[in-house]
């Protein structure tokens, strides 16, 4: 069996531990970055759309089970997010989207879709102002997540830069 099929599972546990224990300390007005989404987007661009979709579904389901969310809500949103992120994956475009600031842009787009779907099952009712929901529940968390996702680009880039200059 190839390691790539186990890699998301191995990475899931440290990521979700950080998401549930450390990330609450850096919340701004209860808006937190979604590390699971960043990981799903990364795998989706790296290994393709099918892999991203399945990883998104598995991450969402596992997160729903251990966090107390409505079971299926994160699964649905992360499945679609993984699928959308897969459109940015191809032999020619992979490096462009994975190792440049375009990665943050992809995270922003998928984050918006992920947050919108997730909110749809939680806050939408007859009195809901759709524009307000878009801003508070989708835009703010997506922007925060995409800002944090810059670390994914900077850290490997810096490492490569340092090793090249040694």
């Amino acid at each position: 069996m190839k390691l790539k099929f186990f890699l998301p599972l191995i990475i899931f546990f440290p990521v979700v531990i950080i998401q549930l224990t450390v990330i609450p300390f850096i919340s701004i007005q209860e808006v937190v970055p979604d590390l699971l989404l960043i990981t799903v987007v990364y795998f989706s661009i790296l290994y393709g759309q099918v892999f991203g979709t399945v990883t998104g579904a598995s991450y969402g389901l596992m997160f729903d089970l251990i966090s107390g969310n409505l079971i299926g809500s994160s699964m649905l949103s992360k499945t679609v997010a993984g699928f959308i992120a897969g459109y940015f994956s191809s032999e020619t475009r992979r490096d462009k989207y994975l190792y440049t600031y375009s990665f943050s842009l992809v995270v922003l787009i998928t984050g918006l879709i992920d947050a919108l779907i997730f909110s749809f099952f939680s806050v939408i009712d007859f009195n809901t102002n759709i524009l307000q929901v878009l801003f508070n529940h989708a835009l703010m968390p997506s922007i925060y997540t995409s800002v944090i996702s810059i670390l994914v680009i900077i850290v490997p880039y810096k490492r490569t830069f340092l090793s090249e200059n040694r």
Partner: protein, 277 residues
Amino acid sequence: MFRFLSYVWNRFKEYLILVVLVVVSLTLLTQNNNPQIQKVRVVAFGSFATVTSVFYDLFNITQLKNENKNLRKVNAELMIQLSMLREQGIINRELKGMLGYKDTSSLPITPATIVSRSLSLTQNTITIDVGTKKGIKPGMPVISYKGLVGIIQTCSDGFSIARTLKNVDLKLTVKNEKNRLNAIMKWDGEKLMMVDVPKAYDFDVGDRIVTSEMSSIIPVPIPVGIVSKIDEEQTGLLNLIEINPFEEVLTVEHVFIIMLIENDEKNNLELNFYNKK
């Protein structure tokens, strides 16, 4: 036929997988109360909470110093309040004795520590380090020294998940402490609101809101918050009332669980009343 299926699979496998997974998610969404799914959830979060509790303690040590300082201050304030309440308690007991009332003030509580929290604007939950082994059951209220924090949702042997006040799925009957008027309180994703309050009800900014005895979930008065704003619609007969909760769910670390669940006897009586033809 096989060639056709193979062609369809190769051409549309991304979409087929997406559709299957979306259908599975939607099916799971409708099966949230299924006992089998609940069982899987209990096992999953129970085993995972053991790991997160260790990490949470590690990161939390830095905040303990500030918390201790604040607690010392609160302790001093409470000491003053306690001595005043003691005086009032003695008088109250005498008066209750004269009227023949039963004292129902003592409730069993269990202390607990939050080991992880799932922060989301709509489905805020916390995981605490006590479970069925300590007698915790779904439906029990979670409080802090300031007021209500949430309600227990699921329990494993050693851990429990609680829905906090900032969870859209938690709806409670609350009342205005001043004039005993009841209303339904819920989190709308941004604010804690009392919804559909008739305009004729006398609510003012600054009124204390507590849980109502009419609630089948929390039938004892626990402080919830203070009225911060009254959204008066120009048309219509109902108001929306914003509440500022006493306890900030984001910063609370130590909580208590009131070992009390909804009263079956009371519920059965009400059910029988409605069943009567």
